[in-house]
Amino acid sequence: MIEIKDIEKSFGSNTVLKGISGIFKEGLTNLIIGGSGSGKTTLLKCMIGLHTPEKGSVQYDGREFIDMNFEQRIEIRKEIGMLFQGSALFDSMTVEENIMFPLNMFTDHSFKEKLERVNFCLERVNLAGKNKLFPAELSGGMKKRVGIARAIAMNPKYLFVDEPNSGLDPKTSIVIDELIKEITEEYNTTTIVVTHDMNSVMGIGDYILFLHEGKKFWEGSNKEIAHTDIEELNDFVFASRFMKAARKNF
């Protein structure tokens, strides 16, 4: 479980996060949603330590992360897997080397054991046999899946996913969403997904935190989101004519 309390973050005079709190439970797919510039990615970066908030706390199963020094953070980070928006695969390494990288760094397993783990992860994301390809040879969806395979290589307790559907066609987006959901339930990870994709919201959002202008405006599940009266949320979720029409069936 990850608990954030009263997170505040500014860049110069621009306050991006204005006291965000929330609890992200294990085994659930937790979504942070909001329009562009609402502070979703900044909140995610504060949670994983890429940004330091001016105020507030981030607790990983009761362990306060923000006050930790570099060495203490390493211990938490070994329990974190992350899929970046652009996948962030290492260009000069093959798929196999990318997934094996954290295993090489933090385990003393033999090459055979590490290769078995790599192959298991690749099979889990339906990319068996793609070991020797380089990132430049992969499609956008395949890169995301390799990113997920690398993220789960170390059996993470916490899985962070930043905009998993950006640049993907709707069908591939659903495959990625389902994969994230399956992995979350299978490994009982605390999964946090930053997205503004409505298919993801309605499809996998066990817990949804809606940000608007740097503030938490609403929280609930995908079943509850269709029945809310909050104007800002409805304007965001049901922005298109299609979604407005589809809302009646939720």
């Binding site: 890429l50 938490i76 980070r77 070994k78 962030a88």
Partner: protein, 244 residues
């Protein structure tokens, strides 16, 4: 502003020297970088050093027209200039262009494509993993390249001088072997060590803090070469002043 940059540069260097996560992986990266910095630059340094030695000999011969100055001086001047100044400085400036821009572009691209963030999230000390192997390769291989450049520059001087008839082989060899002071080699190697440090860390700093996209990576790469060259010349003066 420059003090801010210098402070951030020092903080980055502090992070570079944190204990490596796994020494075996760092060692492999060090050898790869030594190959890139050292072996990969041999051809370029060989061509440049040989021609510089040859041209320098011709110019010295052209200027020494007095009958009172023996022609063996041509070899002596070529030797001392090659060892003390031209080999370390020219090698360093050429490497700042070749190696420095590559380091800055590589690290800058990793920054803008979130690969450095990915390293951080995995719990890896990204400055150490990315910069330390390059730094060790720089401070070990640049002195080796400078020695190589010295030898080829003096050899180039021999070829240029004798083929043009500006100096006889005997006069040139007598010149380079007369009154040789081995301390000049020490000064050159100290310079090479300092330049190796600059060539790797300054571009790494420029790349590491890039923000933006392809244009900013290119600008950082240009800035890395310019700042490295100026730093090399400034340190050249300081080291020369201190050691001679």
């Amino acid at each position: 502003m420059n003090f801010t940059n210098f402070g951030r540069y020092l903080l980055l260097l502090k992070a570079v020297f944190r204990k490596p996560e796994k020494f075996k992986i760092y060692l492999k990266a060090i050898f790869q970088q030594m190959d890139f910095v050292g072996v990969g630059s041999l051809g370029l340094i060989a061509i440049i050093s040989t021609f510089i030695g040859a041209v320098m000999t011709l110019q010295i011969a052209f200027q020494l027209v007095s009958d009172f100055i023996p022609k063996t001086i041509i070899g002596s001047v070529t030797r001392d200039s090659s060892i003390l100044e031209l080999s370390p400085t020219i090698t360093a400036i050429v490497l700042a262009g070749k190696i420095g821009s590559a380091i800055s572009s590589e690290i800058g691209t990793m920054r803008v494509s979130e690969q450095i963030d990915a390293l951080e999230i995995m719990g890896i000390n990204s400055p150490g993993y990315l910069i330390l192997p390059k730094l060790i390769a720089g401070i070990t291989m640049v002195p080796v390249l400078v020695i190589f450049a010295m030898v080829l520059s003096i050899t180039g001087g021999y070829l240029g001088g004798t083929l043009s008839g500006a100096v006889t082989p005997a006069e040139y060899i007598q010149g380079i072997t007369t009154d040789f002071n081995p301390y000049t080699i020490t000064v050159a190697l100290v310079k090479a060590f300092v330049f190796g440090f600059i060539i790797t860390t300054v571009p790494a700093y420029e790349g590491f803090y890039v923000k933006g996209g392809a244009l900013e990576v290119a600008q950082a790469s240009t800035r890395a070469v310019v700042v490295s060259c100026i730093s090399i010349l400034a340190c050249d003066y300081i080291v020369t002043q201190l050691l001679l």
